[in-house]
Symmetry: C2
DNA sequence: ATTGAAAGAGTCTCAGT
DNA sequence: ACTGAGACTCTTTCAAT
């Protein structure tokens, strides 16, 4: 698929990555193009695979998920990455996994209802996975920022 | 605001946090209620602040952002958190910040186009912020999982 | 590639249960 | 609190530029 991304595409991405609820009509007004053009561009972005989907975001604390934690995982051998990762995916509390440089082989993020549930993930779930040497856990006491990356270099702005 | 979240609410959240594009009509069919009921529930979730918004997701690599990295930040004094955080927010490459237990005071995530840009963030941007003692950087070589938390304990399933 | 207009689909409201 | 139907808005298509 061809990826000829111009300024208009980036502007559309910039808006929709922050709020995907805005209508094509309103977005068109902001960007001085017709709703049809917005539609064509978004369709292009979806077909090219640049847009991978749309997700609703919820306030996890209000749903009773009070604990976010990061877990650095040391493996006995780094070649065990795939097999350990495939076990970790089965744990629903794990929402993200990255294969990283540095101390650990795997860096994971978990979301739990409380400390007891986190303890259960660490002690019950992770312990039974073969290949994990040890783990280091960092509990988030406060998430002070969570945003999307700015896809446009701020060369130009658009008039009101 | 009252938060009386029942099973139907959780099912709606479960679907929409994975794909916010599904129509109320289709969601109603899956959950055996009318589109109007889905609408009422979602409106309730939005007004109660449980739903914090909807975001389009993009494949960052396809937009030229090839580097995701995690940065652990040591502060000279942990009381400097607020003042340092307010400086970090100004750096557009930083997309997430957590105040964590353990080694570091601040744990940040950055998204960059390439290693040169990451180096610039570390060397040019972070260096000039007073109060940062040192940093540790972990570059993600692969993101093998990125999903939302399962909000429903899997007690019950719904028939097809 | 963008537009304006028409057709189709979805959201939103409300009276009834 | 849920539903079904109507009113309304938005998406989607398409011929024309």
């Amino acid at each position: 698929m061809n990826l000829n991304i111009d300024k208009l595409d980036l502007q559309i991405i910039e808006y929709l990555t922050q709020d995907a609820q805005i209508s094509y009509a309103d977005l068109g007004k902001k960007l001085f193009v017709s709703p049809g053009t917005v539609h064509v561009r978004i369709k292009k972005l979806q077909e090219s695979g640049i847009v991978s989907g749309t997700r609703m975001h919820v306030d996890l604390k209000k749903l009773g998920f009070d604990v976010i934690a990061f877990i650095g995982i040391y493996l006995e051998k780094s070649s065990l990455y795939d097999v350990v990762a495939s076990e970790l995916v089965k744990i629903p509390e794990i929402v993200r996994m990255n294969y990283t440089t540095g101390n650990w082989s795997i860096f994971a993020e978990v979301v739990c209802k409380d400390i007891a549930q986190l303890r259960s993930v660490l002690h019950d779930e992770l312990q039974k996975i073969k290949g994990i040497e040890r783990t280091e856990t960092f509990i988030s006491l406060e998430e002070s920022l969570n945003r999307t990356v700015k896809v446009m270099a701020d060369e130009e702005n658009d008039a009101p």
